[in-house]
Symmetry: C2
Subunit: 133 residues, 2 copies
DNA sequence: GAGGGCGGTATCCACCGGGATACCAAGACC
DNA sequence: GGTCTTGGTATCCCGGTGGATACCGCCCTC
């Protein structure tokens, strides 16, 4: 808690539009939380800095879910300071997460190319929405 | 199309409640479709047999999305027979998918244990829903 | 005792993924 | 000419996820 490395102010801003990736780890922001905790425990307010796009309600829920699944522990010091840290089980999640990141690093361009080659397939709701334009 | 192995009638029935896993690959059924196509191309109606839980609308959408992302190709023979097959890019997805499956095989029990240990954290919607019971 | 930081909650709301059900056009078969 | 199979669409609807905004109790400092 004392001299740990601070997280960058925005680890994820324009970086890694992970919603476009063909996989998701847990809740929308869970993978980013795991990344933030990878290098050591963090306090709630420390997590809010790099994850400033996430509202506190959603961040709370993400952390609760990670805690429920045994990936994160929440500890309170001095009855006020709250710290979140990865559990050993949570750390094992980094393997498949890294496999997914490796895939993205290797095949991201191919994915974008394919999507540009099929602009007619946008999102659900059938095609006549596009035709209606 | 001629003598390929038939898929089991229900590959996924009670097996692998993948919605409980902490990761998702694309749409809800996308990973299962990938698995079905792993051993060779399949027709729409062939996919419907093992994936009989999936309505045709959703299966169509899943396949369209996989096609848009370049993971699957759709080819029409004789103007009526439609075949879906993995592309080389789609086949590369099997690496992270297998990593996820390996994780699940190894840590599934720990995940369940953790969830049982935290019954108070159910799902979103804050806790007073549970309290209201 | 006022203000600020910390660690959240409470409420409201919009989107959309996906399930249920019904229907359909084109060829093949009888 | 009916009927069956194939490969889907059309419509409706419901629940959950997550964003926006506002608020809160506690402690510490000034």
């Amino acid at each position: 808690m004392t001299h740990r490395q601070p997280l960058p102010p925005d680890m994820f801003d324009e970086l890694c539009p992970s919603t476009l990736l063909p996989f998701r780890f847990g809740d929308k922001w869970a993978a980013l939380v795991l990344r933030c905790l990878e290098t050591g425990p963090r306090r709630f307010s420390e997590l809010r800095v790099p994850l400033h796009r996430v509202t506190p309600k959603v961040l709370t829920h993400t952390l609760r879910t990670l805690e429920r699944d045994g990936f994160v522990v929440r500890t309170t010091h001095d009855q006020r300071v709250v710290e979140y840290a990865l559990t050993p089980l949570g750390r094992t999640l980094l393997d498949p997460l890294n496999a997914a990141c490796d895939w993205a690093a290797t095949h991201w361009d191919e994915l974008l190319d394919a999507q540009e080659r099929h602009p007619e397939i946008s999102r659900m709701g059938s095609a006549q929405q596009v035709a209606a334009e």
